[in-house]
Amino acid sequence: MTKLRQYPHADYRGDYLSRRELLKRALVLGGVGAAGLYLACAPEDRPWSRRDFTGLRGMPVEQPFRLPDFRVAPADPDLALGIGRGGSPREMLLKALDALGGLGRFVQPGDVVLLKPNVAFDRSPNLGATTNPAIIDTLVRLLLVDARAAEVRVADNPIESPADCFAKSGIGAAAEQAGGRVYLPDGNAFEPLYTPGAKLIEQWDFFKRPFTGVTKVIGIAPAKDHNLCHASLGIKNWYGLLGGRRNQFHQAIHEIVSDLSIMIRPTLSIVDGTRVLMENGPTGGDPANVRDGNAILVGLDPVATDAWAYEHLLLRPGRLPDYLYMAEQKGSGLVNYAGRIKVVT
């Protein structure tokens, strides 16, 4: 007969898992497993499914936004352009605005107004490559005091360093001293914009941050020669609101500029003819190329404004730049300004 073994743990008493605990454990594990299975394998159209069979679901999707139409219906539908001549920039601007019926027609008290000057290069104002800071100063004060706008913002996305361009062109200081607020672009300020009907920039990164809450938009462009598209006037000025790889635009510059005319519908298009860059544009750099055009245009029709500026400020005879005809075809305005302008001297 075999001797009984000595079990050292003979008097051991364990702490046993109860059936309830086992069930709870099974339910939890099962639940977690089932949830994981659902998330991973449920068809893609089911709610909360994380399945991505083709790999395309994981791709980021851009959510473009759309710009509202900032135009205000004028009193006289045939009046497209007011021109002020003679005097200081301030006086000419006031004359041009009066020709259209005064700023109050377009800007109501409480409006948030965005001004878009041309601050593209770090040039001092006398070189004609950027907007005249005196006009910015006058306009900001008019908007804040006379038209009682709630806020005036000044924004641009320059080609060179933004802080330097705003400083050297004098526009940063002019805007802030008059009570406006300058918006500088940085990496987080851009979002894709959707422009229906545009041929080449249907969706493009746009300087969105200054536009939140804006009700009126005014563009203030200098009149410049441009060696590629022959003129940089009011419509081309909106190029400064785009981001991304803008340097591709030169491959089809006229199509792009005519797209710009439908990308944004401003309240007013102002063309600054106080320092006209006649040659060597758009960068300029030589004061000898600048002449005093003695005019400031305030336009409701951006195409007509540019057409008049091309003929009377840049003094070019003959055919207008292609982009104006293309913009007319896209419905942005009419090239023929005869009978639609009012000059106040």
């Binding site: 770090d122 060179e160 400083a167 500088l184 672009p185 491959q251 300029g284």
Partner: protein, 556 residues
């Protein structure tokens, strides 16, 4: 007289009555001083930006740095601009000893702060850690090595100088990360509709895309390595590595004021070592070359046996000079002698093998002079508004030129009328130039503009030349008048039957100043069809491209 708060009058009365005040202690003021100088340092880095620069003395701490003064004098023989301020710190060291390390140095403050924040070790262990180690003499060897190299014309102190390391790490490593974080917070907050304009003032570089600095990873690694070593040895960098500390320690031997132990009162409890920053053995013969003047030992002595005094100094209780053996000195010196020609061997400094990518900022002096002056503080990188300046990698100039500023025109361009880098350079590697000198106007018309290099076209990649696609961005953005890019205009029927006008660009090297905006704007982004190389730079007479300019109005 208005009613002052009660506690204030109490203290005032106590002082006037001759009873001492526990609040107005030197250690308190020391903390205030550390915080003040650190804040001023952060202000300096923050203000080194185009819209904030104003008249702030942003290079102040670098100009105060005596190691920069001594090494540049050894290398160049002259004292540039404000580097004479280094004598102020030397004077302070002659007066009070090595107090700079614990009262002013922002790197020292950072080390002490990290240590204070994270050190969980009990007092007994800390007393052991704060003992003097013979390895602390390593920093003197490092100092001698660097000074010998400087005397040979190879300035490398910027690799380990604490102030320089702080500036460099802040500019290239910390500020882009911080700006990205602030920007991310801002854009997330914008989605909720809040007004985040004020966040711009928290950014180091507001109003531009997030900056990047190629190679900043290694700058950060070096920086963080020293900071994190504090968790192993308190004040590791300051005790074992810092060449500036070594310099000040060598000069502190016979300072007028010092820590003095009143032996009669001392019970040898060693409690003074539990917070000793310099590991200077205040419990025995205090080592003047290591003592930071932190005053912690004075606060920790229960017997009031320690004091910081002018008179009553016991000459038997001090070790004035560093504990350095002759062998260490000779080895370090010999290594320094050898290092200079060894580093120069690769020909990147002389003109036989200079790198085409070694495009220096405007106002830079000739390369061999440049390397005698550049301390790699990277202030120029910090102030550059277009982010074109980058720390050089080993490819451009070898080890000698590591982290010195070079231009990378894929990232940005040199703005025509900007001279900020020359304004902030403390040592004159980028000589201060006015915009008139940069453009060659007025009094400088005879010498012509500063040229950084020359642009060249790769006509196999240029859209009009190679592909019949109209493009002429480069000519449009060329900032000089008349433009250095001119075109051959030709009307062709392209491969799809479209009649297009091609403006085929070419460079006029007599007019080109190498600003790089053509390369930056070229749509063939990855390998631009127009690119700048260093040949033709005006700072070097041997690296010229053209013999003479064809238009006398714009001399070469």
């Amino acid at each position: 007289m208005t009613r002052l708060p009660g506690i204030f009058t109490q203290r005032l009365q106590a002082i006037l009555a001759g009873r001492p005040n526990r609040w107005l202690r030197l250690t308190r003021v020391r903390i205030l001083s550390q915080v003040t100088f650190f804040a001023l340092f952060i202000l300096a880095v923050w203000a080194t930006w185009t819209s904030r620069l104003g008249g702030f003395p942003v290079s102040g701490l670098l100009e105060l740095d005596p190691l920069v003064l001594v090494s540049t004098v050894l290398a160049t023989g002259y004292v540039y601009k404000l580097l004479g301020w280094g004598l102020i710190i030397i004077a302070i060291t002659f007066l009070f000893g090595r107090v700079f390390c614990n009262w002013m140095c922002p790197f020292g403050t950072l080390h002490q702060f990290v240590n204070w924040l994270f050190d969980r070790r009990p007092a007994a262990e800390r007393i052991g850690l704060n003992r003097y180690r013979p390895a602390q003499s390593l920093k003197y060897g490092i100092l001698i090595l660097f000074l010998m190299m400087s005397a040979m014309g190879v300035l490398q102190i910027g690799l380990l100088d604490p102030i320089v390391m702080m500036y460099r790490a802040m500019a290239t490593f910390v500020s882009p990360i911080s700006d990205a974080a602030v920007g991310g917070i801002g854009s997330a907050a914008e989605d909720t509709g809040a007004d985040t304009g004020w966040l711009d003032s928290l950014k180091f570089a507001p109003g531009v895309d997030s900056r990047l600095f190629v190679g900043s990873f290694w700058i950060g690694v070096l920086f963080l390595f020293f900071v994190l070593m504090n968790l192993w040895q308190p004040r590791f960098f300051c005790r074992f590595v810092c060449p500036l500390g070594a310099l000040l320690g060598s000069l502190a031997g016979k300072s007028l004021f010092r820590i003095n132990r009143i032996v009669e009162r001392c019970t040898d409890c060693n409690l003074c070592q539990q917070r000793c920053e310099g590991a200077s053995d205040p419990q025995s013969r205090v080592r003047q070359a290591e003592c930071f003047g932190c005053m912690n030992c004075i606060d920790d002595c229960p017997e009031n046996a320690l004091e910081f005094t002018l008179l009553r100094q016991d000459k038997k209780q001090v070790v004035p000079f560093p504990d350095l053996s002759r062998r260490q000195v000779v080895f370090a010196g010999a290594l320094g002698l050898l290092a200079a020609p060894a580093l120069r061997n690769n020909g990147r400094v002389t003109d036989e093998n200079f790198s085409a990518a070694m495009i220096r900022p405007p106002g830079s002096v000739e390369e061999s002079e440049f390397l005698e002056r550049c301390i790699k503080c990277d202030q120029c990188l910090n102030v550059c508004p277009t982010n074109v300046l980058q720390p050089a990698s080993l490819a451009e100039g070898g080890f000698e030129a590591l982290w010195t500023p070079v231009m990378n025109f894929r990232i940005g361009h040199c703005q025509l009328k900007c001279n900020l880098c020359s304004e902030v350079c403390p040592t004159g590697a980028i000589r201060r130039i006015s915009v008139a000198e940069k453009l060659g106007e007025g009094a400088y018309a005879e010498q012509g503009p500063v040229r950084l290099g020359t642009a060249f076209f790769d006509v196999g990649r240029c859209l009009p030349w190679a592909n019949q696609i109209p493009c002429v961005v480069c000519e449009e953005v060329c900032p000089v008048a008349p433009k250095a890019i001119q075109t051959f205009d030709e009307e062709v029927k392209d491969v799809f039957g479209q009649l297009v006008v091609l403006n085929k660009p070419f460079i006029v090297p007599d007019l080109c100043i190498g600003c790089g905006i053509c390369e930056a704007e070229c749509p063939v982004q990855d390998l631009p069809a127009v690119y700048i190389t260093a040949v033709g730079e005006s700072r070097s007479s041997h690296r010229k491209l053209l013999l003479r300019s064809r238009t006398p109005a714009r001399p070469i």
